[in-house]
Amino acid sequence: MTQTEQAAPPVEYYPSADCWVEEGGKVFLIGSRCPACSKHAFPRRIFCDACGTSAGLEPVRLSNTGTLYTFSEVHVAPKVFATPYVIGYVDLPEDVRVLGQVEHKAAELRPDEPVEVVLGVIRKSDSGQPVISYKFRKIGGTRNA
């Protein structure tokens, strides 16, 4: 092994890279669906909190678009985050709400706007590596980061 191969990976994924898949230039979050009551959740669950089912919850690909329920531009945060950044709650059609960073300034956003799932850097890790996670972007919008 060379020195280069032994080095730490250049990026980290949060919460983990198996929380999403990329296909055809789109990013889909991977949640779970309860076989008994059809409730969806993200990230994947082992137990269904709605009906108590604890077996057979299968991974499922969630819609890659949703609605921005609310958001805020955060100016004071732990130092691994580059401030200001925008966080928002996005409702996916499967009745799954996801908190993520939004790649726009607050002034460019309105509640109830349609957004799509993208990937991007959300912060640094404790060891200084860029951390990549799902983020949201206005549909048809361009990156503003």
Binding site: F42, E73, D95, L99
Partner: protein, 379 residues
């Protein structure tokens, strides 16, 4: 259940005391509460100590040097509701007849973290994505403004009121009035919340003595009666949640009103958990002081001022008293007791007969909050 009364209260002035040991702050509050109740430490049969960040055995660490050891000491953590969660245990112990007299302490020292927002659990998914407490409340504010046409000015007016009241409270961390412009133009923390719309962190301690009706008559001290003592946790939701309302506080409030046999109209003053200006707005509605979306009318008409229809946070609230997490709920009870005894000085609500205290918080993904605790007291 036996009649339970608060026989004595005491607290230190909240503030930033990085050099002062937390145990020392606790002892001052306990000493004051015991003196207020006119009891000696050896009359306390159990102690319940609530703290968010005080660490192990805090009750023992406080009471050791006062010679108050040997009894059952229960240390309680429930984030912002730690103090009132401890209070509920103390009240229950007396009500059930296990003991006659309990000491309850609420205490925290946040200067040990330096500055910035209160640290959250890093195992929480949303914290890793960038959630901070001001951001959560800011998102509630955004949605509330969107649905009901409220503006940042309404939020600023809540902060102006808090400072007006806090300026008359000798126990408050900040005893200074501020103008609407100062609030609106202060540093942005999490849009639309500016610095003056967020409560400060700091250090503090408060204590109360709870006992039976029989004991207070024996001791001959002024006391207030506990009419309701409640605690609930947030409901877990993985999908839609109405963030322009607060289900947890509304549900806990309903339970408290049922216990007391009273309704929102019977409350003469309320101390609510205004960690951020939008929180107070949401709690006006959750506690039934106005209908959904009507809080801005309450604010515009000054109805929650000390001389208004339903005074809220005559103490100045978390905004000016400061918010040493575990101490807050017990400090609210101190204020309620002083108000009901007519001892609140320049911030006295005239003729107050029934007071409500509301303490909630704790950031945890999927829940409104970790916990909410509401108490109702009467003369």
């Amino acid at each position: 259940m036996r009649e339970v009364r608060v026989a004595g209260v005491g607290m230190i002035r909240f503030g930033r005391f990085p050099e002062r040991p937390i145990e020392d702050m606790g002892r001052e509050a306990v000493q004051k509460a015991l003196a207020d109740a006119g009891v000696h430490g050896n009359q306390i049969q159990e102690t319940f100590c609530g703290s968010g960040y005080g660490g192990p055995l805090l009750g023992q660490r406080i009471l050791r040097d006062m010679g108050m050891t040997g009894m059952a000491i229960t240390n309680v953590e429930n984030a912002c509701s730690s103090g009132t969660t401890a209070l509920r245990e103390g009240i229950a112990a007396v009500a059930m007849g296990r003991i006659d007299t309990a000491l309850v302490i609420g205490i925290d020292k946040l200067t040990k973290f330096g500055g910035g927002t209160v640290p959250l659990e890093t195992t929480d998914l949303e914290v890793g994505e960038g959630m901070v407490m001001p951001g959560l409340y800011a998102m509630r504010a955004r949605r509330y403004m969107h649905e009901f046409g409220a503006t940042p000015k309404h939020l600023a007016m809540v902060s102006v009121k808090a400072h007006k009241n806090g300026a008359r409270n000798p126990y408050a961390q900040y005893q200074k009035e501020v103008t609407l412009e100062e609030v609106m133009q202060s540093r942005m923390i999490a849009d639309p919340l500016t610095m003056y719309m967020c409560c400060p962190t700091g250090d503090g301690a408060a204590a109360v003595v709870v006992t039976t009706g029989e004991k207070v008559r024996q001791w001959g001290v002024p006391s207030v009666r506990v009419l309701a003592s409640t605690l609930q946790s947030g409901l877990y939701k993985t999908g839609f949640r109405d963030m322009a309302a607060n289900e947890l506080s509304a549900r806990t409030g309903k339970l408290a009103y049922e216990q007391a046999g009273l309704g929102p109209k019977d409350i003469n003053l309320a101390e609510v958990h205004d960690a951020f200006a939008i929180a107070e707005v949401l709690y006006y509605e959750a506690l039934g002081f106005c209908g959904k979306g009507e809080a801005k009318n309450l604010i515009e008409h000054g109805e929650t001022e000390i001389a208004g229809r339903i005074p809220v946070n005559p103490s100045g609230g978390l905004k000016t008293r400061g918010h040493p997490v575990g101490a807050t709920g017990v400090a609210q009870v101190c204020e309620a007791v002083w108000q009901l005894r007519g001892q609140a000085g320049g911030r006295q609500v005239q003729g107050a007969k029934v007071a409500l205290t509301h303490c909630t918080g704790g950031g945890i993904a999927g829940l409104d909050h970790g916990a909410c605790s509401i108490h109702i007291f009467t003369k």
